[in-house]
Amino acid sequence: MKKSLFRPTDILELSIAYIFCFFLNLLFDYGKTLDLDSYLLEAFLKNYMDYRTLIVLVFTSIAIVFHYQMLRRKKEEIFCRILVGATVFHITIRYIQDCLRILIPVYFLSVLANFYMNFNLASNFYLVLILITYILISARQVRKYENF
C-alpha cells in the first residue's frame, strides 16, 4: 500500500466501520435464533427484528461518512499526486482496490462467524453489495479533486 491514500488510522477506522456493520447483521441473525420465554422481551425485540435491513442500512451510513470525509481530507494529496505524474484513473483504481482489500477480509471473517454459529452464510452478502456501491460512488469523488 505504498502509493495508497490510506494511512494506518484510516485502515483501522474503515475496518471498524465495516466490522460494526457485519457485527450488527450477525447480532440480528443471533436475535432470530433466541428462544425467549418472555412475551415482553419478544415484543420489544420485534421492534428491531421487523426493521433489521433498514436498521443495518442506517448504520452503514458510517461507512459513507468515512469515505466522504477521508477523500475530502485527501484532496490536496490527490492533487499533488497528479502533479507528480499520477493519473486520476490510477488513483481511483488504487482507492477502490484498497477499500476492497479491507472489505473482503472483514466479509470473510463474518462468513466464518456465521459458519461457526450455524447461520445462513449468505445472510450478509447483501451488505457486501451495499458497501461496494458506497466504494464505487465515493471513488467518483476522486475525480472532483483533479483541479484543486
Binding site: 415482553l40 420489544f44 470525509q69 481530507r73
Partner: protein
Amino acid sequence: MKIFKFFVTQIFLRKAILGIGMILLLCMANYITFTAARSILSTFQGYQETNYINQEGVYIANLDPDSPMDMGFISESGTQAVYDYLNSNFDYAFYTDGFIVSIPNPDGMEISLGYMNEGYYNLKQFELSQGTDLDFNYQFDREIPVLIGKGLSKTYPVGSTIKMEESVLGRPITLKVQGVLKQNAYRSNYYALNSKTYYNFSILVPVNEEFLNHAAIDLTLNGLMDVAILGTTKEETADLGKVINDNLGLEFNFLSQQDNYDYFKEYYLHALKMICIITFVLLIVITCLSIWNAFVSVRSMLKDFTINLLVGLSDSKLKQIFYGYFGILSFLNLTAVFIITAFNRYGCWLRKDATFATYGLFGLIGMDWLAFLLVAASDILMGVIVVESMLWKIKKIPISLGVLQ
C-alpha cells in the same frame, strides 16, 4: 441569528453528508429510546391497573399449561356444575371478551363484546363519561343495560338500543346503552401486562347467574380461564380445582397475590432489566459513533471554525451555534418519530383494528407523549455530550494550525 444562519447554510449544509450521518444516528437513538420507554411505561401501566385484582384473598384461575384439553369431555352440564359450585360457595369476578359482532358504526369497525359479572364490575371501577352505573338485576329476555366505548357513543347515545340477531344466548337480544366509558379506557392482559385492549369500540355486557345459565359453552368456558375468586383461601381454591377437574377434566392453578408478585419479579423485572441493559448498551454505542461523526465534522470544518474564531467569534457564541444546530437535528428526528408513531396509531384506524384504535392527537395517547418526553431528554443528554466533545476537540487545536489547514 445572522451568524447562526451563516454557519448552517455556508458550513454545515455544505458538508451535508456529515449532518445526514448525525441525523441517522440520532434517529436510531430516538427509536431505541422510544420503543424501550413505551415498553417499560406500558408494563408499569398494566401492573398498576391490575392492582385492582391483585389483592389479598383474591386467587386468579389459570389453566395449567400441561393440562390436556379434551373438548369431547367438556360439556354444558359440566360447566353448569362448575358454575353452580362457584355460585353457591364463592364470590368471583368473571370477565371474558373477544366476541366480535358486526354492528353498524360510522367508522366501520368490528365491535368486540366483553362480558363481566358484578364482582368484576365492582373491582374494576370503570370510569364513565356519560350515563349511570350498570344494573345487574335485569331480565335477559328484555333489554340488557350495557356500557359502550366512546367510538360508539355518537351512533348509540345513552338510552338508545342496539339489536343483535346472534348472541352467546343463541337468540336475538336487545342491548340498552346505560353509560359511555371514558375515551381510551383499556384492560391489560393479566399475563402480558404491556399488551392492552382498548374499549373505544367495545360493548361491555353485564352477566348475572341467569344469563350464565343460558349462555353458550364458549362464553362460560372462556370465562373460567381467567376467573378471579374473591375473599377465599388456598384450601378452598384447591376444592374448586378438584370440582373443575372432575367436571371438565382440566387442571387449573389458582394464583394468589404473592404468586403474582413473585411472577412479576421473576418474569417482568428480569425482562425489564434486559430491555434497560440492551437500550443502554445501544445508546452508548450510538453516542460513541456520534462523537466519532462529530470529530470527523470538526476535522472537515476546522478551517471554517478557526477562521471565524480568528476574526472575533467567541467560544460561547460557537457553543450556542453548535447547540442550535444539534437542536435542529434533534427536532427533525423528533418530528420523524412523531410521524412514524402517529402513522402507527392511525394505522389501527385504517386497518379497522378496533381493539387498538385510540383517541388523541393523531391517535397518540398519554404513554406516547411520555415516551416522547424521555426521547427529548435523551436527545438533550446526547447533544451535551456531542457538542462538548466537538468544542473540546476544537479548543485542543491551535487557531494558527487550524487556519493553515
